[in-house]
Amino acid sequence: MSSALAPAAAPGSVPGLLLSDVAKSFGAKQAVAGIDLILPRGELYALLGPNGAGKTTTLRMIAGLLRPDRGSISIFGIDALADPIAARRVTAWLPDEPMLYDKLTPLEYLEFVAGLWDIDARVAERRAGELIEVLDLVPHAHARCEGFSRGMKQKVALAGALIHDPSLIMLDEPLTGIDAGIARQVKDLLQARVGAGATIVLTTHILEVAERLADRIGIVAGGRLVAEGTFTELKAAAGRDHSTLEDVFLSLTRPEAEAA
């Protein structure tokens, strides 16, 4: 039985996300300089990097909002560049600013998003009810979003991202500007999705989140993936067995500063 917390099944042998030499430039500025990435099914992957490193551009290319200059993107075996509509069907994209309509209520918003993904009305209604419940939005389900706090809006947007039961979920700074209680709810929900087989890529500036939540961490600088692995592997690679992720991050993204 399908539920809001269980993503659609995907072939086990096929990676959840496969990026091969993906690059993107805007005029003379190279935003992403050829990234390779393989994420298996059921993994939570954190993408870290300084501002302007190319994290968001990478996610936007995977979400189908930007066409890469070169390279290929495969989402659960679907060639996202050849068949973007099929790829979008199994993908969810949550940008750092919640994509909401102030004049709609959370339930109306969920109905709209489910409609865009062409989910059967009865299934959508049930999933919406579950998500509203899990994210503690029941008292606000019929209130318009315009009076909501940022954290509330982020929860509604997250519910919208999950209503179509995506296999690949991409979140850009999902925990920025929200309080600890809501952050816990979001983290629990994401871990439940990963446990049920979804692949999640998130960017964050909160290194503690990456350290505690992610199975693997990728560090991007200057449009390239400069390091990748578990936290322990990254520490070893940085030659700092007893350091924090912040130390590792700084040593990998600002090597000249470290050398000094």
């Binding site: 930007l66 062409d118 019929h142």
Partner: protein
Amino acid sequence: MRLKPGTFLWLVAHDLRLNWRRFVDMLGGMTPARSLGLGLLGVVGLHALAWPTVPRIAHVIAGPQSTPEARLALAVLLGTVVSWMAAQGLFAATRTLYDRGDLDLLYGSPQSPRRILAAKATAIALSSLGSVAMLALPVANVGAIRYGVQWLAAYPTLLGLALVATALALAVTVALFRLFGPRRARLYAHLGGAFIGGAIVLAAQVVAMLPDQLRASIAAALEPAAIREAGIVGRILWLPVDAMLAEPWAMAALLLAGAAMFAFAAWRLGGSFARACLEAAGAPSAGTAGRPTRPMRFRSGPSRALRRKEWRLLVRDPSLFAQLGLQIVYTIPLAVVLVRSGSLPIALALTPAIVVIAAQVAASLAWIAVSGEDAPELIAAAPVRPAAVDWAKLSAIAVPVLLVAAVPVGGLALASPLTALAALLFAAGASASTALLNLWHPMPGNRRGMLRRHAQSKLIGLLEHLLAILWAIAAVLALLGSHLWPLPVLMAAVVLGHGRLTSRGALGAGIGISAATPAPSAARALE
């Protein structure tokens, strides 16, 4: 000269600087030197336009020798001016409360709320004055050069009226807050602003359409002797007209009364305005209560979802209704002019007005649906083809356009079914044209700025009006039985074809993967 920080004048200068920069942004963000040059060019151009106009209205500003008919015309004109300024004041005061801008910063500073409101109110009054003075003062200047200094009475008269209108606008805004609370006050303020602005336009047209006998009897009631008999109330009501006719006592009285009302409103209402500001912070609009009005049933399908979303957003946006209402009201004089010209039967004269209104409403709604989309990335990231998104949005706006056109077309059908059918067909053509133009040339913006959208692209604004007029001309020619009616339709098709060729891409295509160039929001990712 540098003003001392924190003083009243310094606060006024701060507000005026922000208003000026908004105005310059509307012109495309020119450099100060270029905007000054353009401003000077505008001043010279407006004076040049006023030169041949002034002789036509010289009989109105004839001082004590003014005829009752002239006084009536002047009264209608000044009524329009003061209602326009009051409507502008109401919109500006509401915008100050809800859009907030720097209000939180100012109220969080050690400045007194009264001084802050007085500065804001002064800036509102000057902006309202400026919007009228830009057109009226060149006429007054040219009149002074050609006919005498009494035309310069326009200066104190307009200033006095701006002060009165702003005082009324502030009082109404605060009263709406007290009566209806922050949630409903915005709705009523927007509707009130549209009503005030539109009512006087309609009233002026009604006066113009009255039978000659009735107008003569009204004019007789406006004889100086009759006004004297009306006592103090009559004198007060006719104060602006007397001031405009350069009566020194009237000019002084109007300025004094305006200043007194303005000072009273700004001083007395400062505290109330500050309280209203605090209440308005984060207050949602009307109708946002968290209780379900009825059980919600989900519906399937992307097209249906897009249409339902557009309709929900439309009916929940009172400011949009106000703006659409204003657009419709300000189009009505076209029909009145045609009816009064006597060259066309009434049914025939109404048809082009219906076509133009439908075209304008369709253009506005298309802009809202496409460019005013609040979550373009959500739609671009959905598994829906851009063409399907566009089609769903166009079909969503067709319904309200049809509703707007239904009443006048229905009325026409009673008089002449054939004329009504023609009006409907040409209105549909005009609506589709202006909607497609907006679809092909999206100009991302906030939906509240619908009426200011042409500031983003003057060319699109001009093309929109051109398409509406071409379809209206075609409708008239067709109803007159002229074989030339396809000509303007062909011209509209050429304009539209040019629009398609220079298309910047529709909503889905502009942001989606199929676009050749990234949309503004896509480009922002790198910033």
